[in-house]
């Protein structure tokens, strides 16, 4: 904070002092970035306010505390040791519980409590409804980009 207080006048002076084109471009870029950032924060989420249920929210905390993303992916983001779990919930609760409660030859048993297992399955069910791990081929348009309808 102290740095901002002491250096802000220098920074402001540096950006405004004269009409050097370099400073002007820099200023415009910073303003555009700030505006875009606000827009991403408030309008980026396609589904609006998708707040997971309290149980799913607790599952999200377990997911992060156990560092699950180190080995697994959600929406293709995370480690590659294990499979992408975006749509694992579509295989059913029993399937998920078997892995979560006992582990496998490749996945250690994390000795999760029943509550943690329930929270994680609830979280993965929510993730399953929110998106897909793979983009279908017919979603790609002529520009090479695509739209995902949640």
């Amino acid at each position: 904070m102290l740095i901002f207080v002491t250096h802000l006048p220098t920074g402001a002076d540096f950006l405004w002092r004269d009409s050097d084109p370099m400073r002007l471009v820099l200023l415009l870029l910073c303003i555009s970035c700030a505006a875009y950032t606000v827009f991403v924060y408030t309008r980026g989420d396609a589904g609006g306010d998708k707040i997971p249920s309290p149980s799913a929210r607790a599952g999200m905390d377990v997911w992060q505390a156990k560092n699950c993303q180190s080995c697994h992916q959600l929406y293709g983001l995370g480690g590659y040791m294990g499979p992408d779990l975006t749509n694992v919930a579509s295989k059913g609760d029993a399937y998920m519980r078997a892995f979560l409660e006992h582990g496998t030859s490749r996945m250690p048993n994390f000795h999760l409590s029943d509550t943690e297992v329930a929270q994680l399955t609830s979280f993965l069910q929510w993730v399953n409804q929110s998106g897909k791990s793979k983009v279908p081929a017919d979603a790609v348009d002529w520009t090479g980009s695509y739209s995902i309808k949640p």
């Binding site: 250096h7 980026g44 989420d45 560092n67 699950c68 897909k132 980009s145």
Partner: protein, 457 residues
């Protein structure tokens, strides 16, 4: 730190391939964040070290806030130690890159504050006219890192965590831009070094150099969306990122156009070890840029996302580009070119082993990624074990190449480590801020003198 990164990387690779032997002692979910964090601290810490040393040659003599500098080093190093302790105790924050418990962000932030204090003490005294581009890049990198680090921690505000998609978007937005921030610092030091070695100050003041600086800055600010193409966000995030990333073709065209001149310069300066590292980084820029351009096209990203091609890009840039530039800079201020023939030979041998290993390492990751993409997206296979069976064979090659990298780069680090003890106490780059040969080093006459000395040797 580099050796720690490499050791943890090799251990992670084997924990990935043979988890049955490592899960009880060193599980992959513990090794991976250790390796990633160590890599980040090596790159960011290395870039900052170079800036702190080189700024004394650039900014006019005076007070460089040594107390703030020391506070930064103390806080930074201590926090890294605590972070590794937390990982060892299996305490995680569950985020990519910064996987440690969230409270540890506070001392890191305080450390960065000290660094900024120290850096801006010199920056304020700079000659305002014709400020070289590398100074702009250092400043941009240092400020952008602070901004992205703060953004990375926005999830402490409940509103950001209310939506998991928003949290992921902000997490990857800041991560993507943070890569741009440390690249500004590292490419800035690379440019500084190139100016010093070639003796040509114009490289850092040309219009085209500034144009590409702004292009890089635009990409830092807006081209982070390729990380989250698969995330069900609004499509305009994807489209904007795609459009911005395509401007990188200009960088590619520029590299190809300047390649002939680079080769001519290469012939003149290739006897300098620091220059060898710098040139190696330029070849890796070319390879990784081509890869990044293709990965940024959503239609192609649909196949490559979530495969080892992403790892190839991450490893190619952090080892091939960032590490090579940092080793060039450290070599420059440790004066490895002034070492005896035996030491120079060892560096050269380590460099060659590292480059060959990195080529095998990089291409095996791409091959593994292509195979996984083909089986998963092309053939539509759903069983993870079935998909990964042939991929794991390729990853064994990657793991062996990782050992080669460890051996090669450790040989280089060993010579550097010994060179620290032999460093003259009153050089222009020392921490006391003496500037006796500061002006001479940037001249053409100096470059010629170095070349003559080399030829005589």
């Amino acid at each position: 730190m580099l050796v720690a990164v490499l050791c943890l990387g090799v251990l992670s690779a084997y924990a990935f391939l043979y988890p049955q032997y490592s899960n009880d002692v060193l599980p992959f979910y513990m090794l991976r964040p250790m390796h990633v964090s160590a890599a980040l601290f090596w790159i960011i810490g290395g870039a900052v070290s170079c800036i702190l040393v080189f700024r004394r040659q650039v900014f006019p003599p005076g007070n460089f806030s040594p107390r703030a500098e020391r506070s930064f080093i103390l806080l930074w190093v201590t926090t890294i130690g605590v972070i590794f302790g937390a990982y060892a105790m299996r305490k995680f924050g569950g985020r990519e890159y910064w996987a440690f418990p969230p409270w540890l962000s506070l001392p890191l932030l305080a450390a960065w504050g000290c660094l900024m204090w120290a850096y801006f003490a010199g920056w304020r005294r700079r000659e305002r006219k014709d400020t070289p581009l590398y100074v702009w890049m250092w400043t941009t990198g240092i400020v952008a890192f602070l901004a992205t680090f703060l953004e990375q921690n926005l999830y402490h505000i409940p509103w950001f965590r209310d939506s998991f998609l928003r949290e992921l978007t902000v997490q990857w937005k800041s991560n993507g831009s943070m890569v741009g921030a440390w690249n500004q610092m590292i490419y800035g030091t690379s440019l500084f070094l190139m100016v010093r070695i070639s003796g040509n100050e114009k490289i850092a003041q040309s219009r085209s150099a500034f144009f590409f600086y702004f292009l890089g800055l635009t990409n830092l600010m807006f081209n982070w969306g390729h990380h989250i193409y698969n995330l069900p966000t609004n499509s305009w995030i994807r489209h904007i990122s795609y459009a911005i990333s395509m401007t990188e073709w200009l960088i590619l065209v520029n590299i190809i156009q300047g390649f002939k001149a680079k080769l001519a310069q290469d012939r003149k300066l290739r006897h300098l070890l620091s220059y060898r590292f710098l040139m190696a980084s330029e070849y890796w820029v070319l390879l990784n840029l081509v890869l990044a351009l293709f990965m940024s096209i959503p239609a192609i990203n649909r196949y490559t996302h979530g495969t080892h091609i992403t790892v190839a890009h991450a490893m190619g840039t952090t080892i091939g580009i960032n590490t090579m530039i940092l080793l060039a800079c450290f070599g420059y201020f440790l004066r490895i070119d002034d070492l005896k023939a035996q030491g120079r030979k060892r560096v050269m041998k380590g460099f060659t082993i590292a480059q060959v290993s990195l080529v095998v390492f990089w291409f095996s990751l791409i091959a593994a990624g292509l195979l996984k993409a083909w089986r998963e997206t092309g053939l539509g296979m759903t069983s993870f074990d079935e998909i990964m069976q042939p991929v794991r064979i390729i990853l064994q090659v990657f793991a062996v190449a990782g050992i080669g990298l460890l051996i090669g780069l450790t040989m280089v680090v060993r010579v550097y480590w010994r060179a620290i003890g032999k460093m003259p106490k009153e050089m222009d780059y020392n921490m006391q801020g003496r500037h006796e040969s500061r002006q001479r080093r940037g001249t053409k006459a100096f470059a010629e003198q170095v070349m003559n000395e080399e030829a005589e040797r």
